[in-house]
């Protein structure tokens, strides 16, 4: 994890190709860069070792797994108790992302839920904490691309 990696043009080309298609053929990327296939796979492994690349993954449609509601929740709390509320939120299996924040809202989180009814339950659960002042929910519409690293059907990673 300590090795340094300079993100040069070849590395950027590798990342860009894999962003579009993680299964992209290294031989094809090598041809575009004018280097050997071996160079590309070495670079890829090096970026992985250095932690620049965390991994590769498929993008799933939550609806295919019965999760029909994606929403963001802004939570305002009595500030000294921020940590307690974060811990409560992180225990909710449908919350796939949670960040403490500055500016609008003290905590910002994203939930992937079966339906709006469940969103309402989750909202009430957070709002039920005595130190929570306000919870604002926003349901996402249209096509949303979620990163499965955050969304693991059935087994949320936190």
């Amino acid at each position: 994890m300590t090795s340094k990696v300079r993100v040069d043009e070849i590395n950027i080309n590798i990342i860009r190709a894999l962003q579009k298609n993680a299964r992209a053929n290294f031989a094809g990327i090598a041809r575009d860069c004018g280097v050997s296939t071996d160079t590309i796979s070495k670079r890829f492994r090096k970026m992985k070792r250095a932690g620049v690349i965390r991994g590769t993954t498929v993008l799933l449609n939550p609806k295919s797994f019965g999760y029909n509601c994606v929403a963001s929740l802004g939570v305002d709390v009595s500030y000294p108790h921020l940590r307690e509320v974060v811990e409560l939120i992180q225990r909710i299996p449908e919350i796939v992302f949670c960040a403490t924040s500055m500016g609008k809202h003290d905590i910002f989180c994203i939930g992937v839920l079966r339906n709006v009814g469940r969103l309402s339950q989750v909202k009430d659960l957070i709002k039920g904490h005595p130190l929570v002042r306000e919870v604002t929910t926003n349901i996402w519409v249209d096509e949303i691309l979620l990163c499965p690293e955050n969304f693991e059907f059935g087994h949320p990673n936190r």
Partner: protein
């Protein structure tokens, strides 16, 4: 979707580059079956694509924020001839290089965008750019301090 599909999905979620031959071996089925299952999952829209997961901190983009956008009320009213302004704002947002996710929302704002930046000043600049999109009436920003996870789809370095 059956157990075989779910197994393939699970393997590819952990490593999208895993060879179909290896997955087939673990399942005790032929690689062709795995390829056909993968294609079918793509056609059904269960798998929308594949991507690389980056650590933006390691490439000099440690700052992140959620931008909550309110569109001008008059412009939200769409007719069949003119698409809603929130759609136009969305189109502009997803073209911005540092916006990694953008969506229309129903709630106290009309659109949400998530941005990645080099530093705080850069985030402010992204906010200014969003505020300057025609039809944007109000912008609230939530700067993330401590966070987990990141969707890299629209992240261009």
């Amino acid at each position: 979707m059956d157990q075989t599909d779910l197994f393939i999905i699970k393997k590819l979620t952990e490593d999208a580059r895993m060879s179909f031959r290896k997955i087939a071996k673990e399942l005790g089925i032929s690689p062709d079956t795995v390829i056909n299952r993968y294609k079918a999952l793509q056609e059904k829209g269960v798998i929308r694509g594949s991507t690389v997961v980056l650590n933006p901190k390691k490439i000099g983009y440690p700052a992140m924020a959620a931008f909550m956008i309110v569109a001008s009320p008059i412009h939200i009213l769409a007719t069949e001839a003119t698409p809603a302004d929130s759609s136009l704002i969305l189109d502009k947002l997803i073209q911005m290089p540092n916006i990694i996710l953008a969506t229309k929302t129903v709630g106290d704002h009309d659109l949400l965008a998530i941005g990645v930046a080099r530093d705080f000043e850069h985030l402010i600049k992204i906010g200014d750019d969003i505020a300057n999109i025609p039809g944007v009436k109000d912008l609230r920003v939530s700067f993330w301090v401590e966070k987990a996870g990141l969707c890299p789809k629209y992240f261009i370095i």
